[in-house]
């Protein structure tokens, strides 16, 4: 069962590596528009 515990935590770590990291595109671009103005 210890192995399953390690594996399940490792799965989460891998998921964080592959998860999207772009943020909310609409909000970001709106903020950049305001900064440019």
């Amino acid at each position: 069962m210890e192995i399953l515990a390690f594996v399940s935590f490792a799965v989460l770590v891998v998921a964080w590596l592959v998860a999207p990291s772009r943020g909310n595109v609409a909000v970001v671009s709106h903020a950049e528009d305001r900064k440019a103005a």
């Binding site: 069962m1 210890e2 399953l4 515990a5 399940s8 935590f9 989460l12 998921a15 964080w16 998860a19 999207p20 772009r22 943020g23 909310n24």
Partner: protein, 408 residues
């Protein structure tokens, strides 16, 4: 003081009772942040009022119905009405603490359980209907099921394991919440306008305080200040953390961003799931229980939303599903290496325990669903469950309490 009373056990149990007491106002903040600003006072009031109401109900008749001398495995007798005979000497459930200390610890469980349900009918329930519902539900649902499991009733006699309330607290409240959501119907504007949380910071603070109080809930349920309490403390913290990480990760992969509210809800789901198991499982099992809580509860909530059931604050997904998973997981992962007074679960060669846990889950679901439906229908006939649409649009703070949460 009688010789067999342990100062250490008594101190820990009273401190745990205080920790569990804090969970109910914490729940008020957890729920209060999730509703719109026009309903925040009414939502917090649900929890605060229940703390007061059940504190009195419990000493008058709740405790004796739940823990009084057994009658046929179904209900406790009235021998301890108004706490007659419940004093400073130990009672039958805990030999090293005053009976009153055990009673007040159990009181805090009776308080928070109906408070959990309030998340399902938030933003639309008439206050008077809520008051009557809570009193009837505590008396006819919570007290009997607490007796079945912990008070010498038939589920306890059958061998069902529930260390701190997976069936008694979480399945009963979660299932009743689903029934309440279905009976009351959806909020005005549901599906047409965004019913967004008005203060996510309040919700995260509430979840954090719930986590803090949960150490009393689970580790206090050892009813002794020793190794079993320490193990319950460790597995509680681990499962909460693992479920928060899992929920956040699943929501990140599903919706593209790591949700803060998701992490908070995930922590609560993990705390729910480890509750029945916390006195019987080791730390590796608590990681798996937390993982399962994050996945199962998140999935259940997506399904509930797809079916357009307006369980406003996701009580069924977190408490109903989390409680059921925790109760079944107890039947899988329990080991006498942690608690010599319990039994092994499925993976330690005792598959029958999983069957007993399934019976306890099914009995809790069926009884609480039927009774909650009957209670709600009766109240609807005599009082009316929902506020009128105009008052719902105005908000419950103004329409039910004539107050406003914020003057800014």
């Amino acid at each position: 003081m009688p010789n067999n009373i342990s100062a250490g056990d008594t101190a820990w149990l009273l401190a745990s009772a205080a920790l569990v007491m804090l969970m109910t106002p914490a729940l008020g903040f957890f729920y209060g942040g999730l509703v719109r600003r026009k309903n925040v006072l009414a939502t917090i009031m649900h929890s605060f009022f229940i703390l007061c109401l059940i504190s009195v109900q419990w000493v008058l008749w709740g405790y004796t119905l739940a823990f009084g001398p057994d009658h046929g495995g179904i209900i406790g007798g009235l021998d301890w009405l108004a706490l007659r005979g419940v004093g400073q000497d130990p009672g039958p459930y805990a030999p090293t603490v005053p009976h009153e200390a055990y009673m007040v610890f159990q009181m805090m469980f009776a308080v928070i359980t109906p408070a959990l349900i309030t998340g399902a009918f938030a933003e639309r329930k008439r206050f008077k209907a809520f008051v009557i519902f809570t009193l009837l539900w505590a008396t006819f649902v919570y007290d009997p099921i607490a007796h079945w499991v912990w008070g010498g009733g038939w589920l306890g006699q059958l061998g069902a394991l529930d260390f701190a309330g997976g069936t008694v607290v979480h399945i009963t409240s979660g299932v009743s919440a689903l029934v309440a959501a279905l009976v009351l119907g959806r909020r005005v504007g549901y599906g047409r306008e965004a019913l967004e949380p008005h203060d996510a910071t309040m919700t995260v603070l509430g979840a954090s305080l719930l986590w803090f109080g949960w150490f009393g809930f689970n580790a206090g349920s050892a009813i002794s200040a020793g190794g079993l309490a320490a193990n319950a403390f460790v597995v509680t913290n681990t499962a909460a953390a693992m479920a928060a990480l899992t929920w956040m990760t699943v929501s990140w992969l599903h919706k593209g961003a790591p949700s803060v509210l998701g992490a908070a809800a995930g922590a609560v789901a993990g705390l729910v799931a480890i509750t029945p198991a916390s006195g019987y499982v080791d730390v590796s099992a608590s990681i798996l229980i937390g993982l399962g809580a994050g996945v199962f509860c998140y999935t259940a909530i997506q399904l509930t939303k797809r079916l357009k059931v307006d369980d406003a604050l996701d009580v069924f997904g977190v408490h109903g599903i989390g409680g059921a998973w925790g109760a079944l997981a107890t039947g899988i992962f329990a080991t006498v290496a942690i608690n010599s007074g319990a039994k092994d679960g499925l993976i330690y060669g005792n598959p029958g325990q999983l069957g007993i846990q399934a019976i306890a889950v099914a009995a809790s679901i069926i009884y609480s669903a039927v009774m909650t439906f009957v209670i709600l229908k009766l109240i609807d006939v005599f009082v009316g469950l929902r506020v009128p649409e105009s008052e719902e649009v105005l908000g419950l703070d103004a329409s039910q309490h004539r107050e406003a949460a914020y003057q800014i």
